[in-house]
């Protein structure tokens, strides 16, 4: 048993501080993103989720420049982008996508400028790659408390608004008839989305954060349709991918070739593997029909 464990987990895994920090921040990001992601997929707002993460990269870049907690930068810019989409957004889906894209472009332009200044004034040459593609084992220990706070804030909002959130996601017209302020719920949802994607952005990078947001949620929705079960399956899938990815990346240092595989790549690869497996299962209908009670 001991031998088996050692052959799967390379020595030092559970005592390495970077690994522990990566698992705390990454695990939190996986859970929060998966839960918020389920609502994102049902509402058809994948683009908004990706856009908020893209814009948050400007905040990540700014924190490189002025030397504050990087998560703070991501969170602030993601919230600003969410507010922008809400303020300038319109009802029509095409028009909303256009606004989302324009805000994304402006935010990324700002990120370009801030990264340029960061590289010029400090010696952080890898800033662009770190912000965009993540660098999990380099997350500072000081990020963990804020990450936990942000994660709890997002989950608390989901918990408090659960029923109106679900109803506005499934049937906005019915929700309006039931007396729910749909506009307010939509705005609050963008806030939750901003908190979730900034956690994922600091974990696997701004442009890749969409993997943790959409992948586990889409996986769970392939397997079940009852909201309660979907909301349990999605974080489970996210955690498997994240912890599995961290383990793979850590082990890969021992596989030769001079350097390990990037954690972000390992996590994204596992997220997609789970999604493809779930698609196969649902296509061939292997014994999961029992979960499909409410279509």
């Amino acid at each position: 048993m001991d031998f088996l464990l050692k052959s799967v987990v390379a020595p030092g895994f559970f005592t390495s501080q970077p690994v522990i920090t990566a698992m705390i921040v990454g695990g939190g990001a996986a859970i929060v993103s998966a839960i918020v992601g389920v609502f994102t997929v049902i509402r058809g707002q994948s683009f908004a989720g990706h856009a908020l993460a893209d814009v948050s990269s400007a905040g990540g870049s700014a924190s490189f420049l002025i030397g504050v907690n990087p998560l703070l930068g991501f969170v602030v810019m993601a919230l600003v982008a969410g507010a922008g989409i809400e303020v300038f957004g319109v009802k029509d889906v095409r028009e909303r996508d256009l606004v989302t894209g324009i805000i994304t472009g402006a935010g990324l332009g700002l990120a370009a400028l801030l990264l340029y200044f960061a590289v010029r004034t400090t010696s952080t040459t890898g800033a662009a790659i770190t912000v965009m593609f993540g660098s999990m084992f380099a997350i500072s220990q000081s990020v963990a408390p804020l990450a936990i706070a942000v994660g709890f804030a997002a989950l608390l909002m989901v918990g408090l608004l659960f029923r109106p959130l679900l109803l506005t996601s499934l049937d906005p017209e019915l929700a309006a008839v039931a007396g729910i302020n749909v506009r307010l719920v939509n705005g609050l949802f963008l806030m939750m989305l901003a908190l979730a994607v900034s956690l994922s952005a600091i974990t696997i990078g701004a442009v890749l954060s969409t993997a943790l947001l959409i992948g586990p949620a889409a996986t769970a929705l392939r397997l079940a349709s009852r909201p309660g079960i979907v909301l349990l399956l999605a974080p489970f899938a996210g955690l498997i991918a994240t912890f599995g990815g961290i383990l793979l990346a850590y082990d890969s240092y021992g596989w030769g070739g001079g350097h390990g595989w990037p954690v972000s790549f390992c996590i994204v690869a596992l997220v997609l593997t789970l999604y493809l497996l779930a698609s196969l299962v649902s296509r061939f209908g292997i014994g999961l029909k029992a979960l499909d009670i409410e279509a």
Binding site: G107, L108, Y116
Partner: protein, 269 residues
């Protein structure tokens, strides 16, 4: 600013702006904003893969843009493309993370691919930019009417025997070509702004499709030239100016529409 090595920048910038203006018009009319953002971004790892294999980066960009088109088309369901687009995008970007670590590329080169490097266009790169750009424009103009009709009224298009699914795939293909042309110059993250900013202002100023597209090209050229000039003067990244000007054009369009009334769909003759 107009010396020898800058000549390529002006030429490449102009070609890219014309392609972006033409294709961008349809991105706005057809409402394919997410695809138009995802394809260039997903194609960018192709350039890293090409360097890993030692081939020209255009082959990598074209191949990855093609994979993106296939992914969006294959995974997408009727009228619901957003999850398919997101998953295709992160698949390609995940590979990008791997390639970047394998090539051990200089951070500066990665930055250039993401945010644009108009000043680094070589003579050898101008020819593929012109050829691929020409293909994107010819395809768009050849299918101008069916592309427009299927966007404005799916029923009318079906009545004329135009398949909505075929037009969707065709347009994704055109976007793929446009992507390979524009990414090396304005950067994978900011192609979208150059495509959509000018086009969104143009469609607010006129409902006639021909003039709207011409105006979209003109505004895209202004954006590209202004961005190159400002980048040259300030030494700031060209992507910053493209993103900011794209947003400015969109804002202008919104202001005009507010004064005139609703955004009207283009009129198909």
């Amino acid at each position: 600013m107009f010396s020898g090595f800058m000549l390529n920048a002006w030429l490449a910038g102009s070609i890219v702006a014309i392609v972006a203006g033409v294709v961008g018009f349809f991105v706005v009319v057809r409402g394919t904003a997410f695809s138009a953002h995802a394809l260039p971004l997903g194609a960018f790892p192709g350039a890293a893969a090409a360097r890993l294999l030692g081939v020209d980066e255009f082959f990598g960009l074209i191949a990855f843009a093609g994979l993106g088109v296939l992914g969006i088309a294959a995974l997408g369901r009727r009228n619901r493309h957003d999850v398919a687009t997101a998953l295709s995008l992160v698949t390609l970007l995940g590979l990008g993370a791997l390639f970047l670590s394998l090539t051990q590329q200089y951070s500066q080169e990665v930055y250039a691919l993401l945010f644009g490097e108009v000043l680094g266009v070589s003579n050898a790169e101008l020819l593929p930019v012109a050829v691929l750009g020409g293909m994107a424009i010819v395809l768009t103009l050849a299918f101008f009417r069916p592309l427009l009709l299927s966007a404005v009224s799916a029923e009318l298009a079906e009545a004329e025997g135009i398949s909505a699914a075929a037009m969707e795939l065709l347009f994704l293909g055109i976007l793929g070509f446009a992507t390979a042309v524009t990414v090396p110059v304005v950067g994978a993250l900011l192609v979208f702004s150059l495509m959509v900013g000018p086009a969104s202002a143009a469609r607010s100023l006129t409902t006639r499709p021909g003039p709207a597209m011409a105006l979209s090209v003109a505004l895209a050229l202004v954006t590209a030239w202004a961005s190159i000039a400002l980048s040259y003067v300030t030494d700031w990244p060209v992507g910053f100016f493209v993103g900011a000007l794209g947003a400015a054009w969109y804002a202008l369009g919104r202001i005009v529409v507010r004064r005139v009334g609703e955004v009207r769909a283009p009129v198909v003759q």
